[in-house]
Amino acid sequence: MYRDSERQKLFTRRVAVLGAGKAVLLATLAGRMYYLQVIEADRYAMLADENRINFRLLAPPRGRIVDRQGAPLADNRQNYRILLIAENVPGGQVSETLDRLGQLVDLEPSDRKRILRDVKRNRSFVPVTIRDNMEWADITKIEVNTPDLPGIMIDVGQSRHYPDASAMSHVLGYVAAVSESEIGDDPLLELPGFRIGKAGVERVHDLALRGSGGTSQVEVNAFGRVIRELSRNDGQSGAELGLTIDKDIQLKTAELLKDESAACVVMDVHSGDVLALVSTPGFDPNAFNRGLSEAEWQGLIKNDKKPLVNKAVAGRYPPGSTFKMVVALAALERGVINPDNKVFCSGYVELGNARFHCWKRRGHGAMNLHSAIKESCDVYFYEIARRTGIDRIAAMSRRLGLGDVTGIDLPGESDGLIPDKAWKDAVLSEPWHAGETLIAGIGQGYILTTPLQLCVMTARLVNGGFAVLPRLTRAIEPRFEEAAVETDSPEDDSVSFADLGLRQSSVTAVLDAMNAVVNIPGGTAYRSRISEPGMAMGGKTGTAQVRRITKSEREQGVRKNKDLPWKFRDHALFVGYAPVESPKYAVAVVVEHGGSGSKAAAPIAKEILLETQRRMGTVPVSMAPKMKTSETGEG
């Protein structure tokens, strides 16, 4: 028979070997567990967190912009938009999803193209904006249908809103979508629908207004769905920007300039606070935020009146007769004349074989400083300019703030042009001609100024001779922070500007004449005088030639400005200040191709100064430098 006990012994031995083998294998498993869960535990813990934790960027609310009284000029509105997250669209069927969405809301073919392009360009989890500024009715339609629209998300964002639209357009500028070349280090700029300032203070103070992005740490599952938020850092809201602008004065000014191609700046002569800065025509900054249609864009860039240019800081105009105060001061300061010196105006003056006409063909007769400014006699200023010389005139111009940027926080400021001999030699490589000095004496020729510079010039004349500079930003206050940081210039008006060192007697002589321009019969702006007690203004008209009326035109009977095509007509200018007894506000108005300063510009300046004094008061807040001007000789 067989030996079962032998067989059992062999079996037992073999089973012992098997058991040992299994023990070794089980020990291997335990060892592997130790390796993974103890030795490599930290690495895998990190990998597990990387799997499940996503960082999402949160856009901070953009800071508001308010006027000097705190009235909002730019704020944020709730904006419903629909987004598409490509990775949540099953099978990447983005265009099918858009088809279904198209049955609920309008989708332009151009929108579709943009969406598909954006989807391709971005990583699949980056939301792409389908439509912005949605109507509530459309949103509810989509909300109901969300189960059929995987990957479509409704988002409540904030969009910039400018309540005053075009009246503020050149001060505020606008925000618009980030263009590819602007994407830099700040990851916020890559957020869909993120807006940055593209013009005005929105652009200059973009970083402060923007704030800093927050982050949200969310737990996601393997399909990218957010399960919960683990932590959140809201970031820093944009700072609130306080402007020196007074909303009411600004609106009034914009209304007065209406559809003219014009610019106006109103300033506090002591502090430099810009109370209004208007360039017309304006544009609707809300349209830029929303996105302009091709037609709207063409309408803006083809308009002869150039609505996109901020003429108040970027427009370069010959100052015309408003420059005569500068020439007068230069002459008085150098002792070339005294106020009572007489010059006889016969209607023209001859230099070499050239003849220089006064605007009054018949001539003014004997003119002193006072009457020459009051009646804007050109011959008088030809003469004293010739006596003073271009370099001295240029030096005085610069002291009064012409020929260089004022440094106002607006983009695109022009420096204008104050010519002198060195300039002509350097730029044109030609010697200076004496005739050019004469032309400069009446603010024509090479001289170019901006309305803002003219306002600064006026302010420096009337504030006692201090080198005031314009200030547009009152305060930048980061919200949600313990201490609001004030800008360097405090709220009150006791800003110390350097004394220009002008002789009091010279300034008084000039201001007396400016007073007469408006308030004495025969003055070029007498029709625009302010009769409200204590609010009277002084000023100076200017009419700047854009192009000489040619001999052939003269022969064809074109004598008057209004007979010319619009773009060849004279610019109308006026610089003024009020109240005359103790000047507090300066204004500069330029109406492009408006005709004469006395008819087109002075009446506007009158209304603006009246409005400004009514709103702001006539008494300087702080100790204004004592300035005595002569009595208003009113008729």
């Binding site: 299994k22 869960q37 599952n221």
Partner: protein, 383 residues
Amino acid sequence: MARRRDALNPPDMTIVEKLMHMNWFFVLLLALTASVGVAMLYSAASGDFYPWAQRHIVRFGVGLVLLIVVALVDIRFWLKHAYTLYAGVLLLLIGVEVMGTVGMGAQRWIDLGYVTVQPSELMKIALVLALARYFHGVSLDDVGHISKLVIPIFLIVAPTGLVLRQPDLGTALMLAMGGGVILFAAGVRIWVFLGVGVSAIAMMPVAWQFLHDYQKQRVLTFLNPENDPLGAGYHIIQSKIALGSGGVFGKGFLEGTQSHLHFLPEMQTDFIFTMLAEEFGMVGGIALLALYTVILIYSFVFAIVCGSQFGRLVAVGVTATFFLYVFINIAMVMGLIPVVGVPLPLISYGGTAMLTLLTGFGLLLGVHVHKDVFLGRLSTGEE
């Protein structure tokens, strides 16, 4: 079935006697393991008995009844019908080739109307029975003869080949290795195993040609999972991350981030150990291994103390099958071997494996209950 009643052939035990001889502590160990499964399936459903945990309980209950029935059946019945059962299951396997439905990319199921049967699972038991029966009738001397190995090798190769064709690499490996263990325990000479081992290694390049693309992919991915982190390597990378991030004490019950955020695939079936180790850490993993080890030790003891070669071989075969389930599954989820799709015994969700295992354990307990029953050299038990 006339039997002499003497010292070698005691009278048949009554049902009550058999129940009293049953090792109920072992049953308790199985129930304990299954309840770990219930807990993990509850967690896999994010804290819900539906859909997996409750059905797991039902299946274990049904399986437990089956286990007791199998354990009570006289061991001579199994001896007598071992070949018949084997032949029947082999026919079913062939049937799968003909009419099997395609599930999970492999033909494995026979649809019998309201139940689906996985013949390859049944074969794990049938093969153990057939091989045990064969070697029960082979003397110690004959085991050494190479000619005596033809039949058992055929018994192993036939189902293994069919299962490979399906293709189901995991089950084929388990059949081959389970069969090999019985041959080893039966006393087949060591050099035979060495010879087979060497030739298997030599055959590898040839075998590679016969592997399906997805099987090749799995092997390649196993060798370097980071090669294809979002494709085939994804499973194993995520599994290792889950395990490793569990650390020593785990993230807590229902707190496994990898599992509950669906980074871990198939967590209710093949990767359930990963989930356990993520939520209960190395402590939990080792505890489960210890539980399995205790079951293994009991199984070995059952095998060793059995009076009949058939019983011993059945016991060792069932034990080997159980061990292979455990080892292949855990080694797979830890990235030690390629992903082959073997469930974790008594814990993974899945009916067929549960029934196979509990039937096997039924046999094992039956072997122990009937350890003193004399079995003649011939299969019929008759002289």
